[in-house]
């Protein structure tokens, strides 16, 4: 029976695919654990840094900020938005990249220039003929130093006026099943409240000291300018690094979940095919018996 053999072949191929997706699920699961731990562990640092920066801004007057004369605090007319897009290198991670690119599609393409991290983002931006300034790649286990060229490139482009903002579009890790495409404004640092709220608002799993309110005049040692000079570059690069960690955690979780679904589906498909196979076999046997008994009766 050709039909029987066809079913058998399908069962075999579905089983094989199931094995592959299962292996990929296990790999993603172990990477996910590491990536999540790293992302969650770096949250308190990002939050405290955001708190300190917001504290600085709250206590500095506009004149004092203007005296610093850094283009980072200057509001200029936005002709070109600079957007750093953080995506994955590989596919097979469910709707993660699709969601990211949907958020990206809402951005006016004439008014934006892109810097990408991850092959998928590079492909998408170049295929949709958007303005791609540079693409970078990072390893799976990202180190802070790997992002140095990215941050330098963005800041240089900003200083030279090639882009008028630095924004980051990435996937925020919320939990294993939920990741959200988020766009944040980093530079110029005006109206930081939203950003700070977004950073502080992210729930983290470590013990947290309550934020104290203190209305008294704050003292800066040695001076506000020196602290600003020291903390701002660090803030920008740490913030971008932190976003990359969040994106990595999202990637591995999304892939894990996608691969788990694929494995489950393969199992289900295999079961229903086996049932079909058994039915067909049964039908074949019944038919044979019928033929034999019909032959002997005549």
């Amino acid at each position: 029976m050709a039909n029987l053999r066809d079913i058998q072949r399908r069962i075999k191929s579905v089983k094989n695919t199931g094995k592959i997706t299962r292996a990929m699920q296990l790999v993603a699961a172990s990477k996910m654990k590491k990536a999540q731990d790293q992302a969650v562990a770096s949250r308190p640092y990002a939050q405290l840094m955001a708190e300190i920066v917001s504290g600085l801004f709250r206590h500095l007057s506009v004149e004092e900020l203007a005296a610093v004369q850094s283009p980072i605090f200057e509001k200029r007319e936005v002709k070109k938005r600079g957007i750093l897009l953080l995506s994955t290198d590989k596919g097979l991670c469910g709707s993660l990249n699709a969601n990211l690119f949907r958020a990206l599609a809402e951005i006016d393409r004439e008014k934006a220039a892109f810097v990408t991290v991850g092959r998928k983002a590079t492909q998408f931006v170049s295929r949709s003929r958007r303005n791609l300034l540079a693409d970078f790649s990072v390893s799976d286990h990202v180190l802070f130093s790997e992002l140095r060229p990215v941050v330098d490139f963005l800041l240089n482009a900003y200083y030279e006026g090639e882009i008028d903002t630095i924004e980051v579009l990435y996937t925020q890790f919320i939990n294993n099943l939920k990741q959200e495409a988020v766009l944040i404004n980093l530079v110029p640092m005006i109206g930081l409240d939203d950003l700070i709220q977004a950073i502080i608002g992210v729930q983290d799993y470590t013990e947290k000291a309550p934020i104290e309110n203190d209305e008294r005049e704050i003292r800066f040692e040695p001076s506000a300018k020196e602290i600003l000079d020291a903390i701002i570059p660090l803030f920008i690069s740490r913030e971008i690094y932190h976003k990359v960690l969040e994106a990595k955690a999202s990637e591995h979780s999304a892939r894990m979940v996608a691969m788990k679904t694929a494995t489950d589906n393969a199992g289900e498909l295999c079961d229903s095919l086996t049932l079909k196979f058994n039915k067909a076999r049964q039908a074949a046997i019944t038919q044979e018996i019928q033929e034999i008994s019909a032959a002997s009766a005549s």
Partner: protein
């Protein structure tokens, strides 16, 4: 009245406890912070951070960073921090030697400034650990 001290590094939250007083190694000298201190924001130098709690004094080696005093809460943001009791003098010595060698090599090769910076941080932190440990003995 007690102070709340939290020390955060990029890897994790190292310390989060209520203490009686803290000595911070700032860029303009050591500052002793007691409850009711005025709000302060300062740059930290690599050095020893002394914590007094219930009459006993603990020391932590910290790297460069920032500190904020707001109300009775002290937040320290630094690249690295370690409790001095946990410092293994031999390991710190080894770490310092390794970091300095790597630094010399990297300088000879004209490495990326970022890598140099990282190695410098490692060497600096190892030296601070050693110094703090020796003082303790």
């Amino acid at each position: 009245m007690a102070l709340l001290l939290e020390i955060v590094t990029p890897e994790k939250k190292v310390y989060c406890e209520t203490v009686d007083s803290v000595v911070l190694p700032t860029s303009s000298g050591q500052i002793d912070v007691l409850p009711g201190h005025i709000p302060l924001m300062t740059l930290l130098e690599a050095g020893e951070l002394m914590v007094t709690r219930n009459g006993t004094t603990d020391a932590l080696a910290v790297d460069r960073g920032f500190a904020q005093v707001q109300g009775d809460k002290i937040s320290v943001l630094t690249e690295a921090a370690i409790n001095i009791q946990e410092i293994d003098a031999g390991a710190a010595e080894d770490a310092r030697r390794r970091a300095e060698e790597a630094l010399a090599q990297a300088e000879a090769r004209k490495e990326d400034p970022e890598i140099l910076e990282e190695l410098e941080t490692k060497a600096r932190f190892a030296i601070v650990q050693q110094l703090a440990k020796e003082r303790k003995r």
